[in-house]
């Protein structure tokens, strides 16, 4: 279970963050060289880091927009009686502020990069270890069936829009029957699936009762897929 940490690791986002910092570092080094600065490198790094500390507003998942450059203001206040020092630090403090915007921008494109790395419409992205998976019935009225794990490797899936309206009307009957007699469209989930390394996806995979469709939920939302063949056998 300790391996779980790896599943959450989002390689696309991490890589982009590293690139953003690398870029900032390169620019800062260029500035320092150009100015023939005597300021120690760790001090430069500290000022850049302070400059990058900002007060952010939350836009949407993982994307925060910097609005108030707190670190920059602190530096400005701290050096208000030492204008010469401020002149020295200013370009690095600004680099820090720029870095915070760059980091926010990078998070905005992260999903696009993520999609390029990890094909969301390929079952292999969600299940890299078909033999180790199991079927879990999440509904007492479900038929006793089992997973054809070999089929998980072969099967093709096609994303189609979630017909929640249709499921809903189907389930209206469900709502009107007593709890104890209710049946459901998705009575199974797949247990033990490991997604692709670095995808940061930790999916819950629901299986439709005929075994020919999946409802996959990740931290990026839900998607519904129809399969070329059934992945369930028995009864």
């Amino acid at each position: 279970m300790n391996l779980n940490i790896d599943f959450y690791f989002d390689a696309a986002s991490t890589l982009l963050t590293l690139i953003a910092w690398g870029l900032t570092g390169a620019v800062v080094l260029y500035i320092r060289k150009n100015r023939g600065d005597s300021l120690k490198l760790w001090k430069v790094a500290l000022v850049v880091f302070l400059g990058s500390l900002t007060f952010d507003i939350y836009l949407y998942e993982r994307v925060n927009l910097p609005v108030l450059p707190l670190g920059f203001l602190v530096l400005l206040l701290a050096t208000r009686k030492k204008p010469l020092l401020w002149l020295k630090l200013k370009p690095y403090a600004w680099s820090g502020v720029a870095a915070s915007f760059l980091l926010a921008g990078v998070q905005m494109v992260a999903p696009v990069v993520h999609d390029a790395f990890y094909n969301k419409d390929d079952l292999h992205t969600y299940i890299t270890n078909p033999e180790e998976t199991e079927l879990l019935s999440i509904h007492p009225k479900s038929l006793k069936r089992s997973l054809i794990t070999s089929e998980l490797e072969r099967v093709n899936m096609k994303r189609i829009s979630m017909n929640v309206m249709e499921w809903h009307s189907n389930d209206k009957q469900v709502i009107n029957t007593p709890h104890s007699k209710r049946m459901t469209l998705f009575p199974y989930i797949i247990l033990g699936a490991e997604p692709l390394w670095g995808s940061g996806l930790d999916p819950v995979i629901h299986i439709r009762k005929d075994g020919k469709a999946l409802l996959i939920e990740t931290n990026r939302g839900q998607a519904f897929y129809e399969l070329s063949t059934s992945i369930l056998e028995g009864e």
Binding site: M1, L136, I138, H139, P140, K141, S161, M162, V164, M165, W167, H168, D171, V174, I175, P178, H179, S180, K181, R182, T184, L185, F186, P187, I189, L191, D202, P203, V204, H206, L215, E217, N219, G221, Q222
Partner: protein, 232 residues
């Protein structure tokens, strides 16, 4: 050199503090536990007379730092007490005059640390249920969302002990941990208790008072279900 010594000392003190903080203190004797709890109870201004603790039924360590102690009150009713290991000693964080099941969310962010604690009388076995209601949402702008209903069951046998702390089954906490969508309903745990002949026992209504003594331990409900609430 001076700097190195200071840095070394700071590290040592920090590490020592960490060790002390993370080492498990010894659990006091039952009399001491009872005395401590009764002292704390008496301090409560809405405390009702005659409901002091008379007996400690046992002790169940949940992890190195969390301890569940089932108690019996002078009037015979069963309750729960929760303890957390702080600096050098166990601190009482809560006394509950009702023994019906509750979830102690040790780390609210991690469902795998959740434990159902209970202390029941005249019960032979208990079924715990994890349920998620069928839920859907259709909205413009946002993607559609569909939550298939879930009902999972765990049977809890009461051997000789009528109290316990049951860790949530891994599958339950896994499903819960993965559900990041804020549109999903909150966790819905329920229980049904059975007597010797497998007949359903409904808990007798009792006045439940929970006394909190600081700390920020999080507890959540386990609902008493009847057969009509579940799918069989």
């Amino acid at each position: 050199m001076k700097k190195i010594i200071i840095a070394g000392l700071t590290l040592l003190i920090g590490f020592g503090g960490w060790l002390v903080y993370h080492s498990t203190s010894e659990i006091p004797e039952n009399e001491h536990l009872i005395e401590k709890m009764n002292d704390k109870l008496k301090e409560q201004n809405h405390f009702k007379k005659g409901t002091l603790i008379k007996k400690v039924q046992g002790r169940q360590l949940i992890d190195d730092r969390h301890l569940y102690i089932p108690v019996v009150f002078e009037n015979g009713s069963r309750g729960k007490s929760l303890w957390v290991d702080g600096w050098f000693k166990w601190k009482l964080v809560r006394v509950d005059t009702d023994g019906s099941p509750e979830v102690w969310e040790i780390d609210p962010e991690k469902p795998s640390t959740f434990h159902v604690i209970y202390h029941l009388e005249g019960v032979d076995s208990m079924d715990l249920y994890y349920r998620e209601e069928l839920y859907w949402s259709i909205s413009n702008g946002k993607e559609n969302f569909y939550q298939p209903p879930i009902q999972l069951k765990k049977e809890v046998a009461f051997d000789k002990r009528n109290y316990g702390a049951v860790k949530l089954p891994e599958v339950w906490s896994d499903i819960r941990a993965k559900s990041s969508d804020s549109r999903r309903p909150i966790m819905n745990l329920g229980y049904i208790t059975y007597g010797e002949n497998q007949e359903v026992i409904s808990p007798s209504p009792s006045s439940d008072t929970a006394y909190s003594f600081g700390g920020n331990e999080k507890l959540s409900f386990v609902i008493n279900l009847n057969k009509n609430d579940i799918v069989e």
